[in-house]
């Protein structure tokens, strides 16, 4: 009896499926629960990978619940690439439809934040723009330029206080979250990605820059969203975190 890899895979991720025939203990007896070593290896390794990727989600739902959630996720969404560091991209949508979590509105955005942190960590390195270039560029030229952001920059906009929820579960002494919409910007000054809570208009501004909008238009977008938008504070945040890499007309 030949065991093809289709049969093996079906039984691997479906604990209800019969174990494949044609497997033995090497001495004529059926392999029995020896097959379960592979079932267990696959499930545990993928669940561990998810826990590494989503520590805040795990903390929010609790370790036991996260195991159940991870097992359901990995059966529905096995990895599609050997790069396990990027496993879990369907997690936000999964949390939205998974019965036990679908009523927790902010969870999908927390998952987006954690995915963004992971991608920022592995993003390409880039040399920062010399701050004197900004100062020496005539204002008109500057306004008609595009500011290029470092590849490790990630923006996560949310109707929920996701920065505060992330911080409360990650940083010792962070205050308890209160309800507000929060835009979070992940910057990587060197090798460690750090989330920053954006001030009013900041999310709209960075979103515009990421789309390649001219600086003048990005400022207008940000000010339209919130008249309190503070350009110099925003540029200081980007410059001090090595997030600006180029100025292009």
């Amino acid at each position: 009896m030949n065991v093809d890899q289709d049969t093996f895979r079906q039984a691997l991720l479906d604990p209800q499926a019969p174990r494949p025939a044609g497997l033995s203990d090497g001495h004529g007896q059926d392999a029995g629960r020896r097959f379960d070593v592979y079932r267990n290896n696959v499930t545990v390794a993928l669940a561990d990978a998810l826990e590494t990727a989503f520590p805040t989600i795990a903390k929010l739902v609790g370790a036991q619940n996260f195991k159940l959630l991870a097992t359901a996720y990995l059966r529905q969404h096995p990895p599609t690439s050997p790069l396990m560091m990027f496993y879990g991209k369907e997690m936000p949508a999964f949390l939205q439809s998974f019965e036990p979590t679908k009523s927790i509105g902010y969870l999908p955005d927390i998952a987006r934040l954690e995915l963004a942190l992971r991608h920022s960590y592995h993003a390409a390195d880039a040399s920062p723009l010399d701050p004197s270039v900004l100062q020496s560029t005539p204002p008109d030229t500057l306004m008609a330029s595009k500011l290029k952001l470092a590849p490790a920059t990630r923006l996560v906009r949310s109707q929920w206080p996701i920065f505060a929820i992330w911080a409360f579960n990650t940083l010792p002494g962070a205050p308890k979250p209160t309800m507000s919409a929060q835009d979070t910007l992940i910057l990587r000054p060197d090798l460690d990605p750090e989330p920053h809570l954006l001030p009013p208009g900041g999310g709209a501004f960075v979103a515009a820059l990421l789309e390649g909008t001219l600086l003048a238009d990005a400022i207008e977008t940000a000010t339209n969203e919130d008249p309190a938008f503070d350009l110099s504070a925003m540029l200081a945040l980007l410059l001090s975190n090595n997030a600006l890499t180029d100025l292009k007309d």
């Binding site: 009896m1 030949n2 065991v3 093809d4 890899q5 289709d6 093996f8 895979r9 691997l12 991720l13 044609g22 497997l23 033995s24 203990d25 090497g26 001495h27 007896q29 392999a31 029995g32 629960r33 020896r34 097959f35 070593v37 592979y38 290896n41 696959v42 390794a45 993928l46 990978a49 096995p78 990895p79 599609t80 690439s81 050997p82 790069l83 396990m84 560091m85 920022s120 960590y121 592995h122 993003a123 390409a124 390195d125 590849p151 490790a152 990587r188 090798l191 460690d192």
Partner: protein, 286 residues
């Protein structure tokens, strides 16, 4: 007299190495002890930048590096993933590791990556498929690779040849070298109730470019027979050290890796394992 662009170290020394874990970076750069080389899982260094690549570039200036793939699915029934082949080529091109290895196993099914080293029946059809895949990989990355023997928890009734004959045939057809995992030999022999010494006696030791040693856990099957699990989560077991001693006395010294991937210990504990390997290597070299 100083080479501004040092060439990568192009071979693994016949010394102990360890599986590199980022938490050991500072300890290793301060004082590696007897550890003479490092192995990394290739897939962990396929991002675009950041800390993983920065650390690896730094370590490669001092240490010979072995790039050990865990994701290509050489034993898969379908064609090798061209994207992953390109990534492996890219890694080999920039890192130029002293050694490059992969597993006799499958892990990809259609579009899915199952993240485990799954077993293969030892048949003529499997030989043909694995040899083709090893050829394709070696041609793509432009270098010889080492193929590692698996841990077995079960056997395929359809198998028509021994694992040692299977590996010998792959090495003969493709010119690849072999990576002998001595813990895997012990785990498989215990699980399938065969003789590990007979396995080593039949293994083509001349083809071995690297040895792995790792820890295993103990369980049992439905009939109460011992079932060892290749867990890489603890010290190398005493009978595995004995078997390793036998391999070295028979086949000569080889670069020897301590693999400890789960419940990773502090650096002194890991380095102490490397010292145990060093004692056996030095005894054989004397």
């Amino acid at each position: 007299m100083f080479d501004e662009n040092p060439r990568p170290i192009d071979r693994l020394p016949n010394a102990p190495g360890v599986g590199y874990k980022p938490q050991h970076f500072t300890a290793i750069t301060n004082d590696p002890g007897v550890v003479g080389w490092l192995e990394v899982h290739a897939e962990n260094y396929m991002g675009d930048g950041g800390r993983p690549l920065a650390q690896l570039r730094h370590l490669a200036e001092t240490f010979a590096i072995s790039a050990h793939g865990v994701g290509l699915s050489i034993g898969g029934e379908t064609r090798l993933d061209p994207d992953h082949l390109s990534r492996l080529k890219h890694l080999n091109d920039w890192l130029q590791p002293a050694s490059f290895s992969e597993h006799l196993a499958w892990s990809t099914h259609g579009a899915e990556f199952l993240n485990d080293l799954l077993p293969l029946p030892y048949t003529e059809a499997t030989v043909n498929r694995v040899a083709d895949h090893v050829d394709e990989l070696q041609e793509t990355v432009g270098r010889k690779m080492l193929l590692e023997n698996p841990s077995s928890y079960l056997a395929f009734t359809e198998s028509t040849m021994s694992e040692t004959d299977f590996l010998r045939e792959i090495a003969r057809r493709t010119g690849c070298g072999l990576l002998l995992d001595v813990n895997n030999v012990f785990v498989s022999a215990t699980n399938l109730d065969t003789d590990p010494i007979a396995y080593i006696d039949d293994f083509p030791l001349d083809h071995v470019g690297e040895i792995h040693l790792g820890g295993h856990d103990e369980d049992e099957d439905d009939h109460g027979a011992p079932l060892l699990i290749d867990s890489h989560g603890r010290e190398v077991a005493d009978p595995v050290w004995t078997l390793y001693d036998y391999v070295i006395s028979k086949g000569g010294v080889r670069p020897t890796l301590i693999e400890w991937d789960n419940d990773v210990p502090d650096w002194p504990t890991l380095e102490a394992e490397a010292q145990r390997a060093q004692v056996i290597l030095q005894k054989a070299a004397a």
